[in-house]
Assembly symmetry: C2
């Protein structure tokens, strides 16, 4: 089977975004925020949005199941405060849960966390527990920069984040390290801030010793790891200069890269540099780049084609990238797949 | 011949840094700053620092000439104000000029600019003119984030920067877009901030239309372009989504990438994705990564080996990357090379 570990619900009904805009506009007026009507969506609305969107495309491409989370740019943790972030996250996660219940063979949930700038991430624990234990989610998205491009939080290796990590380890769920929309005009969201977030997070992990404290904590770095695999020699060299262990030992038991890299040479490099055990298939369908590549005639984000075209990958390698690694990094996925009629690998 | 377009004077006598620390500590006490003694260096001190450092290594590697500028992390435009930045830049540029006069066949100058957060970059024009017209420098380093990791300046496409660009065009000198030290704990200087700066700058150029206004302005993006070549499909797709022309037409007459990528797969990708006319040889000797790669037994930053090993590059391609592109992007280099006994290509 083919599992896409990185999909966002970018085709949600428009009134969802309208609600969020109202919430941002009313903040910090608590009375008006309390009176703001939460939008309701019919099953038909949700079904239409997904069956004409992500589900149609993933089926055309032969992708069985997507790990599905709320729109990354929509998380916008910099808007409002912890309370607005909490109500917004609950609303978004509940929509994901409904999509997953409608199409459990095709979607499984990944949680948005109610982070807020300067608020200790321990505040995300109740929503993480709810998503995993009540809604059946298998992972979460963790934003290393809830300020939206101003980078004011401590590095991911700081004890600031530890209570959340403790709960993730206890629940056995990984986090994809994914920033949200940039509100800094220097950074284009999908063209700079996302890739910078990936590179920054990885280098924080190189500098620190997080996995000594959390040997079973697992992070997925999206967008093919930002600049990291292209500069793998630089990072290996920096680790040496910093007297850290070799990266394979220091990080690669805990850190994984997705395949959201939108051309063949990039995927070839990823597959050449990063061990196959650390690469998880992903596309971000209807995501950052939505057009057709005039050089190939195929959608930029049709990443399955690139992986199929890497000449030196064996059938076993592809099975790891497409399925086995996702089952290993997101262990709760196995029970979900069993429950919904997939055969064990 | 082989021209390295990216070298910094990282081996300057230690009292230079000590002076800078004092300057930072005394700021903003104008009287004490005025009384601070500017360090003086003998020719022998400078000669030793360079002959045992960059010059020795570049000669061992068969590199003829390096475009040499003050230490990138040392620019630290976030320290002090425009006045401290000006005196610091003059001091650093003068040292570069002395090195270049000692070894004119091996070093030519590239200017540090006296940028300061929130100060219009027009303030850099006098020092740029001095460096080019009096000291014989052939280019400058332009910091898109003088705040040191807080990213508070307008994008490089904003009119904020135009007076400086007008002078660069008039002098016919390009800029390498190079951030300086990060004072934001989220960003490791060489492992995150540098690469993010490269990616961010490129995406600002994708979004804007700077080269419509300045058709002969030229930028070099260092460190192999940050994340850009690895994500070339993403950037081509984003340009399409933004209704911009194809990148070749939109940017590649004006934007060039250096080869500071410290492993073979990265250089292979760069050479595969970016047209040969847009790639300039560079190493950053005694720079970000100073060790030996245990996988190859050679220094990580010995980038000449990687370029020599790209199987599909022709002799003509290599001549462009090693020499001709640098002469084209930095046209003032030709007169310097003529003057110092190099034969035209």
């Amino acid at each position: 089977m083919i599992i896409d570990c990185h999909g966002h619900y970018t085709t949600a009904p428009r009134s969802l975004e309208a609600y969020r805009r109202q919430q941002a506009a009313l903040f910090p007026d608590a009375a008006k925020l309390a009176a703001l009507e939460v939008p309701r969506f019919s099953d038909d609305q949700l079904r239409d949005s997904i069956e004409s969107g992500q589900l149609r495309i993933q089926q055309e491409r032969g992708v069985d199941l997507t790990l599905f989370s709320p729109r990354a740019a929509g998380m916008s943790h910099h808007i409002g405060d912890a309370a607005t972030s909490a109500s917004w996250s609950i609303l978004c996660n509940d929509l994901i849960a409904r999509i997953c219940r409608m199409h459990p063979r095709h979607f499984v949930g990944v949680a948005q966390l109610p982070q807020s700038p300067g608020v200790a991430p321990a505040n995300c624990i109740p929503e993480l527990v709810r998503c995993v234990e009540e809604l059946g989610f298998v992972g979460c998205n963790l934003n290393p920069d809830p300020s939206g491009g101003h980078w004011k939080e401590p590095p991911l290796t700081d004890r600031w984040w530890y209570p959340l990590y403790e709960k993730m380890v206890e629940l056995d769920v990984p986090a994809m390290i994914h920033v949200s929309a940039s509100c800094n005009p220097a950074f284009h969201t999908a063209g700079a801030h996302y890739l910078n977030g990936d590179t920054t997070a990885f280098m924080q992990l190189v500098e620190g010793n997080l996995f000594r404290d959390f040997p079973t904590l697992r992070f997925v770095i999206p967008h093919g790891g930002g600049a990291v695999p292209y500069h793998w020699g630089r990072f290996r060299g920096l680790a040496l200069d910093l007297k850290q262990p070799p990266l394979a030992e220091h990080l690669l038991r805990n850190v994984f890269f997705d395949t959201c890299v939108y051309h063949q040479p990039g995927i070839d490099l990823l597959a050449r540099v990063i061990p196959t055990d650390n690469v998880l298939f992903a596309s971000e369908i209807i995501g950052a780049v939505q057009g057709i590549d005039p050089e190939t005639g195929h959608y930029f984000d049709d990443t399955r084609r690139y992986i199929d075209a890497v000449p030196w990958l064996s059938a076993e390698d592809r099975a790891k990238i497409f399925e086995a690694n996702a089952r290993r990094v997101y262990p709760r996925l196995n029970a979900w797949l069993d429950l919904h009629g997939y055969h064990p690998p």
